[in-house]
Symmetry: C2
Subunit: 479 residues, 2 copies
């Protein structure tokens, strides 16, 4: 790698995703092309999320991408939040449009408009719909996968008879996000509630899962919103109750996006490039002949056999029989983050063994050929867990729970910078006043990540004003 | 159904898709919302197509939706074909853009631009990429699923060392389309080549599969294009050959879209509404208790048991235990096109049997309970084949191979109209001159569908000028 992770994280990140061939820039500002190895990570995320959504009774649908300007104006907070970032279609087929059409940043308004027609009675509820789609937010500063003008996501939109049911849905989906991100992507997250200033535009309550990247910055990896009756009122979504009364529905929305691709890279990558958890790796195992293998045709015969066996087990395997040197190949496949490498040379064959190496470990291991496939399968499972544990240990190390005032926070940041360490996150008390949050942000760039459901400690005084803390909050710099 | 299929096909179609709850109109011109039962048909199509694409070595990627105006101008035929239908983004985040950005109608230009960078050497070839995406064509006249301003599709884009390989790819993908459309959607198609006037804008050769709807009109159900080096030249996509020479790549593109949802409805639907082939039906089997079932709890017990057994077999089953009358339910589920209905009442239970009815057949069948699950599984397979056979018989009946002049065609159309029949398609000779095609279109609205690879007869003279026929062509009215 040209750029070092520990010296210049952003350059390291760009280097890593380019060398792993995950994406390319395009001439359209902030819009990237997802190349096959990048897109396939998303496909594995999609498959797992989609399965869980359907298991919990949701169905997919598709709504128009273009949203009339007048729709946004119906929910005041919503338009305030999103209007600065909207691209607009103003002409089509050679004619100027009468009303501008926004490229959707999210679909609450269009869906609200339609739900008002689809929902008539309690019998129509709950409505449990998800959409896989592209969305647009014309951001000033972009970073591939993490923040792009166009990105891919899923957005769930549900409607319920009352607050209790809607809040249960909000929590259920946040919990699914937590499970998928931890189990599939091996990224540990804190689940909790966003502070009012960080809420989704138009939500009553926003909940998030927050992940710590290797530079200590936070990624909001998924959000789930309880929208109350705000959109129901804006779009007149009412239903007839069993008691023959007209009531507003309570709605939720929840989303995860292709920024998860960026998160997995920033969580597991190292100085040798990408490190992918086995469950989302496009290539899980690469087989490489070593030594004078061209003179020993039995090497390739054996590798072909292993290839077929792994493939039969449903493992995504590649065999690299190109003319490059083994060293070159090792480097190439490490850059791509392939979880397990298998080496086989004439001497190995003589000893009836092969060498395997996990991408995240230093040592190679000699494995008897008869046990090889089983050992690889086992290692893919072990490595998946190990990456999660490593990321968890990293996060614990950089989660600071004894920083209790703004002065201490500034000292902590200064000390970290001086010693070449990352400042990470801090857990601190907050009185609940916006101004205190704002003050911390202005002076340190640390923002509230969320109010965790299960904080490692309880804080009693506000980090800024010292008054009684209403909440114990994670603070950190965020993407 | 309010509107009859045989009297007013379009109104019948709209009625059918509304009553089956497949879609809804939206305030954005020509843009529909795909409701869950409509979208799920697409999901089944996607799953099967995607599997076949991957089996043949293709991988998915994702490219930006916005395409700079200057890109279109690089390929003359392409911009001529698409510019009349483009919507444009002209402002974003409060600022006017320096260059207009089109909402993609298809992605040859963006992908061509990127491939010129991705492809350097013969070692990089072939590039076999597919994209699942939304696309825009601002059509004047729209019809849900069949022709909408925004639709969903897949577009494959491949690059090859030479014409032979690229043409083989073009044919391979057309063949996959034919297989999926016939096997999954039970829609028989004619595969063949488009005439030059009907070619994709920018293609050397366009091939299509053409399906006959129940009103005799044709739907182009999938297309595959050999693009030669036209886009390679426009975007400078060159590679270094083994002999160290710079050559243009040969590219292909191929696509199928959500218009397949419309096609399946127009192929199989009847006066009672939707008829869905089992393989794409969101609900494959519906269980309905009949007679005084509420007084006989063992009815619901038995149905719950059958439900669980079908579910365990991977069958998409619903149990309708609502308070509506059996007659009402029968009608509702027929409107939705559910392939198999199972009725169980006290008398059936006494006789240790249930009644099953296939959506496309008139008679009910009594089946012993112990054999029920197996019989249903069998019927789902049988019905799938039967629908294809019925559609094939319908197509044969309305394919006319003895209409050999424009006068005869006009007579045939007039006779059909008079006798309340549909004119269907005709197989006729064509001399290869655009003007002859144009003349037929102007006088009859019949256009060339394709030059079938396996025509049921060979024609010797042009339908318009009577000169020697170069091609035997399907003519018909088209969507
Ligand atoms: Zn305070
Ligand atoms: Zn002619």
């Amino acid at each position: 790698m040209t750029n070092q992770q520990k010296n210049d994280f952003t350059s390291w990140y760009i280097d890593t995703i380019k060398k792993a061939d995950l994406m390319d820039y395009t001439p359209v500002r902030g819009c990237i092309a997802f190349k096959p190895d990048g897109y396939e990570i998303w496909e594995h995320i999609q498959a797992e999320m989609d399965k869980r959504f359907k298991e919990t009774g949701h169905r997919n649908a598709y709504f128009p991408m273009l949203i009339p300007e007048s729709f946004f104006e119906k929910e005041k907070d919503h338009i305030e939040g999103f209007s600065p970032e909207l691209p607009w279609v103003t002409e089509a087929a050679g004619e100027k449009l009468e009303e501008r059409l926004a490229l959707r940043p999210t679909s609450e308004t269009m869906i609200g408009h339609l739900y008002s027609d689809w929902i008539k009675s309690y019998r129509d509820l709950p409505v449990l719909i998800n959409q896989w789609a592209n969305v647009f937010r014309w951001e000033k500063k972009t970073l591939p996968f993490i923040r792009t003008s166009e990105f891919l996501w899923q957005e769930g939109h549900t409607a319920h008879v009352d607050e209790v049911e809607a809040r249960a849905e909000t929590m259920q989906m946040l919990n699914i996000y937590k499970e998928v991100v931890e189990e599939l992507l091996a990224i540990p997250v804190y689940d909790g509630q966003k502070t009012p200033s960080e809420r989704f535009a138009g939500a009553i309550d926003t909940y998030s899962i927050e992940a710590m990247m290797k530079d200590g910055k936070a990624v909001q990896a998924g959000t789930s919103h309880y929208l109350g009756t705000k959109f129901a009122q804006a779009f007149d979504i009412k239903y007839l109750t069993k008691e023959n009364k007209h009531e507003f529905v309570h709605t939720t929305s929840w989303g995860t996006s292709t920024r998860l691709i960026g998160s997995v890279i920033m969580t597991h990558g190292d100085e040798q490039g990408l490190v992918l958890p086995p469950r989302v790796a496009p290539t899980q195992v690469v087989l490489i002949p070593v030594g004078p293998w061209k003179k020993n045709p039995e090497i390739m015969e054996k590798l072909d056999e292993i290839f077929a066996q792994l493939k039969a087990q449903g493992i995504r395997v590649r065999l690299d029989d190109s003319d490059q040197s083994p060293g070159y190949k090792f480097n190439e496949w490490e850059l791509k983050g392939v979880p397990v490498r298998v080496e086989l040379g004439p001497r190995d064959l003589e000893n009836n063994q092969a060498l395997i190496k996990a991408r995240d470990e230093d040592e190679k291991e000699a494995v008897e050929l008869s046990a090889l496939v089983a050992r690889i399968e086992e290692e893919l499972v072990t490595m998946q867990t190990r990456l999660l544990e490593k990321a968890r240990a990293f996060r614990e190390k950089h989660s600071h729970i004894h920083v209790d005032s703004l002065v201490q926070l500034k000292d902590h940041i200064a000390d970290s910078t001086e010693s070449g360490e990352i400042p990470g996150w801090i857990l601190a008390g907050w009185c609940g006043v916006d101004a205190c949050e704002e003050q911390v942000k202005e002076e340190t760039k640390f923002t509230t990540r969320n109010i965790p459901f299960n904080p490692p400690a309880e804080k009693s005084s506000c980090i800024n004003c010292g008054n009684e803390a209403k909440h114990t909050v994670w603070f950190g710099r965020a993407y």
